[in-house]
């Protein structure tokens, strides 16, 4: 038994969960969704073990290369989904979120991702790294759930407007409010991890808390988009379609911060 076996088991368990969710999606059997949720929860625990294992084995935080941080992102996504699902019952989001999580796991295990537990370069040896990356990814996981519920909102809303909404389907209004709640959890987490801890760490390592490097700038852009979401909603009363679109753009900005910057733009962060 080792870390990569645990990772594979997690992967397989998430697959099974996705299978049950898709059975639920097509057959509308509530019990399939319930099984799906239990399976994800099991997968999440195995995943947690895998991360702990990795940490002990390598002696540093489990997100210092692309493989590790993708795995951690998938873990955060599963956590965010489980919390939201237990709280608000958004089963319908399950299949789509599982697809995203499996996609991230697949990316993580692709041979393109360097996965050896490489020794850390000096700047990365800091517990601020732990705090910075884990809290940011956790915040982004909630943005991911908001992204899915916002897309579901757009679909539900157009169905309701056309009068073809199905009996008992989750209402657009409820999806809108769940999206808002996810942003309300994600925004403070992202602010704390991405901006505040990021600045503290940058100051400790490079002596400058802000240097407009592309990754920093894109975190700020993501943050601005969600600030826009909050203000249009709270002050100008925007809801529904426009809010959903901003949340979708916000998550895409977060994705770009995460992937695009590493592969398309260069900067101080390019090793992470």
């Amino acid at each position: 038994m080792n870390e990569s076996t645990l990772f594979l088991i997690t992967f397989a368990v998430y697959f099974i969960a996705a299978f049950f969710y898709f059975v639920f999606l097509f057959s509308k059997k509530e019990s399939a969704a319930k099984t799906g949720l239990s399976v994800v929860t099991v997968g999440f625990f195995v995943h947690t073990l895998a991360l702990i294992w990795r940490t002990i084995e390598s002696g540093h935080a489990p997100f210092t290369n692309m493989y590790e941080s993708l795995s951690f992102l998938a873990w955060s996504g599963a956590l965010a989904y489980i919390i939201i699902e237990y709280k608000y019952n958004i089963r319908k989001a399950g299949p789509y979120l599982m697809l995203i999580i499996i996609g991230i796991m697949a990316l993580a295990s692709s041979p393109l991702m360097p996965d050896e537990a490489a020794p850390l370069m000096p700047a990365l040896q800091s517990y601020w790294l732990w705090l910075h990356v884990s809290v940011t990814l956790l915040g982004e996981a909630f943005f991911a759930v908001a992204f899915v519920t916002s897309i579901m909102y757009l679909v539900a809303d157009s169905r309701e407007k056309k009068g073809v909404a199905k009996e008992g389907a989750i209402t657009a209004e409820k999806l809108d409010s769940i999206s808002y709640r996810c942003v309300a959890v994600g925004f403070p987490l992202f602010t704390l991890g991405g901006l505040v801890f990021g600045m503290v760490w940058a100051y400790k390592a490079w002596g400058s808390y802000w240097s407009w490097d592309p990754k920093e700038t894109w975190s700020l852009i993501t943050w601005f988009v969600f600030a826009l979401y909050l203000h249009t909603r709270i002050v100008m009363g925007w809801k529904g379609r426009r809010s959903a679109l901003i949340a979708i753009i916000g998550f895409l900005a977060a994705l770009f911060t995460y992937f695009g910057v590493n592969y398309l733009l260069a900067g101080l962060h390019s090793y992470a």
Partner: protein
């Protein structure tokens, strides 16, 4: 004036500015910053001049970007201030005049009557509300009592504290931009260097590099002593992520290198026809070595750690000792008879231009020099504002999202020995939680007759 203030306090302006600043920030990540005019010319051709003129090539420090940030700060201040008076009133001088109808029209409301006179009901009601952590204000009007029970009032100010935090961060950024500075100092073991603008000096006691088993650098460590008037004040070993801070100056480990100004060179002169006749010398640049047996003198004139020929000129490609080379001259008496470059890594490649048939050759065996520690020195008086601002920001976010204010308004009226009670709950951000709490309080109050 009034319309200016209205303009500067509007949330529409805020949204406009957020969009513009976001878009500008994006552009700055796609167009490489702070390159040379030639590079821009190669990348963008005709457009490059426009980019440079508009300072898009140093976008985040351009006058127009800073002006946008300034306008944004002004927007935050004025917007927050213009709303603050009303918020204070709401928090500390709330209106206790409410009508039955208003309460009954609320979404969360209740109406019932119970036995007992007004004082008794009031006392019990207050007790119930207080045990649910509500704070109560009251007013009396003829035969009516109005109660306003509230909790988490501070939540009202969440957004203002967020905005204040942001403002403090922006101010800190401006201070950093104008009066912060950073420089690199290279310092060798034993050396003492003055610190720019400070009344103390810095001495490097010891410098070492640690390696991972695979040979990559694990860490650099410099033991530094702060010297004030020649007295040591403080000694600390710094490494990456663990700087030394003294009197507002921060010293970071940033790099390392070799001091090529004053290396010791090991040069062997060997007689070609009789290799047992040798002169092994350890010299510094410019020092003459006398080789008695051969009646020769030689000296090293120039040293390059990473020799290449560029054009026709030798120069060094880097400061790493990849291809160390030394230029030597050979004399017999007053006459220079030979000169040329010799290479540590390519002994056979050495070529000397000789005036006479030469029965000797030179080999460049080794170099010894001290390593220096690259230390970045920064003084940033803005940074404390940043941490204060971040703290305010997080407190404000917590209050705005997780400390939602709630209130319950109640009207108590005495009617024929009974008390009639109308109540309504209000919470913009936690309706569901308030609804269940409201029900619980009212139900237990009805039961307690």
């Amino acid at each position: 004036m009034k319309s200016l203030i209205r303009f500067l306090s509007s949330v529409k302006l805020a949204i406009f500015l957020i969009i513009i600043i976001t878009a500008a920030s994006m552009i700055g990540t796609f167009i490489p910053q702070l390159r040379s005019a030639e590079e821009y010319g190669a990348l963008y051709g005709q457009l490059s001049e426009l980019l440079i003129r508009l300072e898009i090539t140093d976008l985040y420090h351009s006058w127009w970007f800073i002006a946008l940030l300034f306008l944004f700060s002004l927007n935050i201040v004025i917007c927050t201030l213009t709303r603050l008076a009303a918020k204070f009133r709401r928090a500390f001088k709330p209106n206790l005049e409410f009508e039955n109808q208003t309460l009954l029209a609320a979404k969360i409301q209740d109406r019932f009557s119970r036995k007992g006179n007004l004082e008794k009901s009031e006392g019990e009601l207050k007790k119930g509300l207080r045990s649910a952590h509500y704070k109560i204000k009251e007013t009396r009007k003829e035969a009516e009592v109005h109660l306003l029970a509230r909790k988490k009032i501070l939540g009202i100010f969440g957004s203002d504290i967020v905005h204040l935090g942001l403002l403090v961060i922006l101010i800190g950024g401006i201070i950093s931009g104008f009066s912060g500075f950073r420089t690199n100092i290279n310092i060798s073991e034993g050396e003492i260097v003055p610190v720019l603008g400070a009344d103390f000096k810095l001495q490097l006691d010891k410098f070492e590099t640690e390696y991972h088993p695979n040979g990559s650098v694990k860490d650099w460590k410099s033991t530094l002593t702060v010297m004030e008037d020649d007295n040591p004040r403080l000694t600390k070993t710094i490494e990456v992520n663990h700087p030394l801070t003294y009197k507002g100056y921060v010293f970071y480990q940033s790099s390392y290198g070799w001091d090529w100004q004053n290396p010791t060179l090991e040069i062997w002169a060997i007689k070609t026809s009789d290799p047992s006749s040798q002169k092994n010398a350890f010299v510094r640049l410019g020092e003459k070595v006398i080789w008695d047996e051969e009646n020769l003198e030689f000296k090293a004139l120039q040293f390059l750690p990473d020799f290449i020929i560029d054009g026709n000129q030798p120069r060094t490609r880097s400061l790493n000792p990849n291809n160390p080379a030394v230029f030597i001259e050979v004399y017999r008496g007053e006459d220079k008879i030979s000169s040329g470059w010799i290479f540590a890594k390519f002994p056979d490649f050495s070529q000397m231009h000789s005036e006479e048939e030469a029965d000797y050759k030179f080999e460049f065996k080794d170099i010894q020099t001290s390593q220096y520690s690259g230390i970045q020195m920064a003084k940033d008086p803005g940074v404390n504002y940043i941490w204060v601002g971040c703290t305010l920001l997080m407190i404000g976010l917590f209050l705005a999202f997780y400390w939602p204010p709630r209130d319950i308004r109640l009207i108590l009226m005495e009617k024929e020995g009974k008390t009639e009670i109308i109540s309504a709950g209000r919470s913009a951000k936690s309706k569901l939680a308030l609804e269940s709490e409201f029900k619980r309080i009212m139900v237990s109050f009805r039961r307690s007759q």
